[in-house]
């Protein structure tokens, strides 16, 4: 097997045995990026020299017998939403196109401490808002299985770069399915941890009560390895939970006995493509053959998940994105042009005797805010800011935001009840495999409805994983397992059991050339 088609776990063994160097591994992946990324578009930025320099330093330290971190020498790609000192963190938005972070996010700091090679920054939907990565202000990302299709989103770059063997490990973020859905569409493994498992410090907020960073990789073993490094309590994130981090990578291969799975009645309704349903039902049979018991369960409030999500997330986003106003950092409108225009308009009105209208012109400050934000944000971000601003306005708050919070609680209660009956909830990740680029750009509602199987985990704060479970017309299909909070250890073992019995996760797209 070629180097770039190995798993991270295999590569780590090679590194530790000094059969391969980090420079060799990193070079191989960099070659792959240079060869294929012009057509895939997974990376917003990568720097060959900087990556090789990190690799060389780690190789030297290994040669000297110095202690090394858990990921020593392994390339990891990072979604362009997590800050890294001195580096651009654009969130795929024009408004942050020139923003260099003065500090490391906790996830990046942990990766550095684990001696990972930070190979590049991946593309995404602007501020993680979207399900196709088409909302990036900078470029499209193409699905490595079919370049005419989207990789899913918002962590489309993070999933595509793993699928295209440009990196063994990748960090994404998941607010309503943004790790699991692109993982499914790109045929890789992606895990959304329990809310509070991974620090959000330095994860540029989209929806604070939903955002979680998590791993994308080929296998559950590799996801376990990466999660083990980034998880843990962080005193700088008040919502991170002080619970011990199990050695996921050590236990991941231990099968679970007496596994019980819940198949959600509401998941198998109209809208689910037959191929996807077929693949999921086949996967259930695999688990049964491994000794699992399967029962049908109900999550009665899951049907409100998308509606609740599209209130809670935009409300929080409208507030979180208020800081991008052109004053302190990021994009600012051309002030000279603005002043010239305002003055000309005022003169014109005064000359025409329209003094009242002249008085109504906005102050330069308000105009600076308006223009900077109008120029800096893309349409989907603006749509959500408007939705959230509206829903939080006086007179609407109770009917929208407060009600959404109440239903959110009911959704969590549904899961609590379910997990008293079963270990994991099993089902599809998305209604269909990857769709064509441009297909849903003009239909935001259709795009939102794609999140139907994933948003509930974020609303309930529980863990979820997407693993490859088949193909439909050459396009990967994902299987979702959801676990109760802080049950990642068993969730990863359940995923690994499936991957031991199947080989869907070993399939690689043919990249051509």
């Amino acid at each position: 097997m070629s180097m770039i088609h190995s798993t991270a776990t295999q590569l780590l063994q090679e590194l530790q045995a000094s059969r391969l160097s980090s420079v060799e591994i990193t070079s191989a992946y960099l070659d792959q990026i240079e060869r294929h990324d012009p057509r895939v578009g997974a990376f917003l930025r990568f720097d060959r020299d900087a990556a090789l320099q990190q690799a060389r330093a780690i190789d030297e330290r290994r040669a000297k017998g110095q202690p090394l971190g858990k990921l020593a020498g392994l390339p990891v790609a990072v979604k362009d939403l997590l800050t890294s000192t001195g580096e651009l963190t654009t969130c795929a938005s024009k408004i942050l196109a020139n923003f260099r972070s003065p500090y490391d996010s906790t996830v990046v700091a942990k990766l550095k401490a684990a001696d990972a090679v930070l190979i590049g920054r991946t593309n995404m939907d602007e501020f993680a808002m979207g399900g196709s990565t088409e909302n990036s202000a900078f470029q499209k990302t193409h699905n490595p299985w079919d370049l005419t299709r989207t990789p899913g989103g918002s962590s489309g770059g993070a999933a595509a770069c793993v699928a295209a063997s440009m990196t063994p490990l990748s960090i994404g973020t998941d607010t309503g399915g943004s790790i699991r859905q692109p993982a499914a569409m790109c045929g890789v493994t992606g895990l959304k941890p329990t809310y509070g498992r991974v620090s959000r410090f330095g994860l540029v907020a989209f929806a604070s009560s939903l955002d979680q960073a998590g791993p994308l990789a080929w296998t559950a073993d590799d996801a376990a390895l990466l999660l083990e490094v980034i998880a843990g309590h962080d005193p700088r994130d008040a919502t991170s939970v002080d619970a011990p981090v199990p050695a996921y990578s050590q236990s991941v291969r231990q099968p679970l006995a007496g596994l019980s799975l819940g198949l959600v009645r509401e998941h198998f309704a109209a809208g689910l493509e037959p191929d996807v349903e077929q693949a999921v039902r086949e996967a259930v049979k695999v688990y049964e053959s491994l000794g699992a018991t399967v029962k049908e369960i109900s999550l009665p409030h899951s049907k409100y998940g998308v509606a609740v999500y599209y209130l809670v997330a935009p409300c929080e986003a409208s507030s979180n994105l208020a800081r991008y106003d052109g004053v302190h950092y990021g994009h600012r409108t051309d002030e000279a042009a603005m002043h010239a225009e305002l003055n000309a308009k005022r003169k014109q009105l005064v000359a025409a005797g329209k003094h009242a209208e002249a008085d109504k012109l906005e102050s330069p400050l308000v105009e600076l805010y308006r223009r900077s934000r109008a120029e800096g944000f893309g349409p989907e971000v603006k749509r959500r800011i408007m939705l959230g601003t509206y829903a939080l306005s006086a007179g609407y708050y109770d009917a929208y935001y407060l009600k959404a919070l109440k239903v959110r609680r009911l959704i969590r209660d549904d899961f609590d009840r379910a997990f008293q009956e079963v270990d994991f909830v099993i089902g599809p990740v998305s209604t269909s495999p990857a769709f064509k680029l441009g297909d849903k750009v003009d239909d935001p509602l259709a795009m939102y409805l794609m999140d139907i199987y994933t948003v509930s985990a974020n609303l309930a704060g529980i863990a979820g994983i997407s693993i490859p479970c088949g193909f439909s017309r050459g396009l990967p299909i994902g299987l979702q397992l959801q676990a109760k909070p802080f049950d990642e250890e068993r969730l990863l073992r359940a995923a690994a059991m499936y991957q031991t019995a199947t080989d869907w996760h070993t399939k690689r797209p043919t990249m051509g050339k």
Partner: protein, 488 residues
């Protein structure tokens, strides 16, 4: 009977004296170079998160308890959203519908009799982060503004009273008592110049008419930069509101609440531009912060650690030290350190009244004349105790005592050393009696006068005794002479 009642409520913002800011580790020290006390968190950099400073919260609870407030067992943080360049996140972390404390009171009184003692209710006290400072550079002719974010994130306590004040003097008395309380607690230096205490007032009139009392529209008065200007601004505004009422007969609800700014130079309030859009702050719970729970045990613990507050100290001085309400008020109002000085002196000399007289007439006067604080005062309490014991014991009279005090103050001497320097010696009792015998014997005419009922005549013995020995205690001389005459 007057034509109207004045109704006043106050909103007071107080910066809490913490080492670090409310949601990050930056220093809160005043006066540093602009933007040097900042970090990614308080400058609102993408991806940063606030983490509550437990110490600031504890200080806030301490203050609220001292204001007799109820402490909420569960409280949360909300985002107050508006755009301004000195607010880098586009929202201020504050408390909206569940403040950490509510329903307290503070008692005001004035032994000088200007206002009646009164308990003023406090509606709520909540904690929030301060914004930065904008400096508008209009002098240079450019439209540039400069922003200093050093203050951003400093813990700020907002104290909202009920509209319980009935005169500007009461408003001033409330602020004075509040400031005293806060300094006793050590939670704030209450420096209005440095902005660590800021006051807005809400005022309207209840006009007496044949049809009963009618409330006029409420006006919010801002930009009051001292307690004195609070009193003046509210006095001005009450008169203005009366004029407006007579002209317009506008009632509460007829017009939106108006905001006016006090101009300290011109002695008037001016209307500030009404901004309709500023009213909707779109408050919602901050998802970055977890709610705070406060157990009743914790409340009891803080309560028991409050120490003696001004009101209790005043009562103790009156009952245990035998001084008048007026005197206790003067002493307590000097602040905790000065009151402690008084207590040390009074305890040491075991005479509250004597200590009170000397504290007010000599110590306080010196502090005022020389613009000193009690901490800078050169005579330690123990030294003053030694002096007052000599006065109380008859070794010194008040006049010589003051001379000794002056020497102690200026030369940093102990009472004994000062007396020595001044050549004051205690005269031995037997020596004193002998001296008195001598002058009584030498002055039969005066003795006869005294015997004839003119006790005052004995006063002339004092001068004679002093000529013979300047260190004699005049009162004692008179006493002994009278005794000798009585025995004759």
């Amino acid at each position: 009977m007057s034509n109207y009642d004045i109704i006043i409520g106050l909103e007071v913002h107080v910066q809490l004296q913490t080492a670090t800011k409310l949601f990050c580790g930056c220093s809160t020290q005043f006066g540093a170079e602009p933007n040097t006390q900042t970090c990614p968190v308080c400058t609102g950099m993408p991806g940063t998160l606030p983490v509550m400073n437990r110490k600031a919260f504890d200080l806030a609870v301490r203050t609220a308890l001292a204001l007799n407030c109820q402490i909420a067992p569960f409280t949360k943080w909300d985002r107050k959203q508006y755009y301004y360049p000195d607010l880098p996140k586009g929202y201020q972390i504050s408390q909206f519908d569940l403040p950490f404390s509510h329903d307290g009171w503070l008692e005001i009184s004035d032994p000088k009799g200007k206002i009646e003692p009164k308990r003023l209710r406090i509606q709520r006290v909540h904690l929030e982060e301060d914004a930065g400072k904008s400096m508008h550079d209009e002098v240079a002719g450019s439209a540039d503004s400069r922003i200093d974010l050093n203050r951003t994130g400093t813990p700020l306590l907002e104290i909202v009273t009920q509209p319980d004040m009935r005169s500007p003097a009461e408003a001033k008395a409330f602020l004075t008592e509040l400031k005293l309380l806060l300094t006793y607690l050590g939670v704030s230096d209450c420096n209005m110049q440095e902005g660590s205490l800021r006051v807005d007032g809400n005022i309207n009139l209840h006009v007496h008419t044949d049809a009963g009392k009618i409330a006029t529209p409420i006006v919010e008065v801002k930009n009051m930069n001292s307690f004195r200007s609070v009193e003046r601004a509210l006095t001005y505004e009450a008169e203005r509101l009366w004029d407006v009422w007579q002209e317009s007969k506008q009632k509460l609800g007829d017009v939106p609440k108006q905001t006016r700014g006090w101009d300290d130079q011109a002695n008037i309030t001016r209307g500030q531009r009404h901004k309709e859009e500023s009213s909707d702050y779109r408050y919602f719970p901050d998802p970055d912060l977890v709610p705070v729970t406060v157990s009743s045990e914790r409340v009891a613990e803080v309560q028991s650690g409050l120490g003696e507050l001004p009101a209790a100290l005043r009562t103790r001085l009156e009952t245990s030290y035998g001084i008048t309400p007026y005197d206790s008020d003067v002493i307590v109002n000097q602040g905790r350190a000065a009151a402690d000085y008084y207590l040390a002196v009074a305890d040491g000399v075991a005479d509250g009244k004597l200590a009170s007289n000397w504290f007010q007439q000599d110590v306080l006067r010196t502090l005022n004349d020389r613009s000193l604080t009690i901490e800078q005062f050169g005579v330690p309490a123990t030294a003053l105790v030694a002096l007052l014991k000599k006065i109380k014991g008859g070794e010194l009279d008040n006049a010589r005592g003051r001379q000794v005090f002056a020497a102690m103050l200026d030369q940093g001497l102990s009472a004994d050393a000062a007396m020595q320097a001044l050549g004051f010696e205690q005269v031995d009792e037997s020596e004193l009696v002998a001296l008195c015998q001598e002058i009584v014997a030498a002055n039969p005419k005066i003795v006869a006068d005294v015997k004839g009922g003119n006790a005052k005549a004995a006063g002339s013995f004092v001068g004679m005794a002093k000529k013979k020995n300047k260190n004699v205690n005049p009162a004692r001389v008179q006493e002994i002479c009278l005794q000798l005459i009585a025995q004759m």
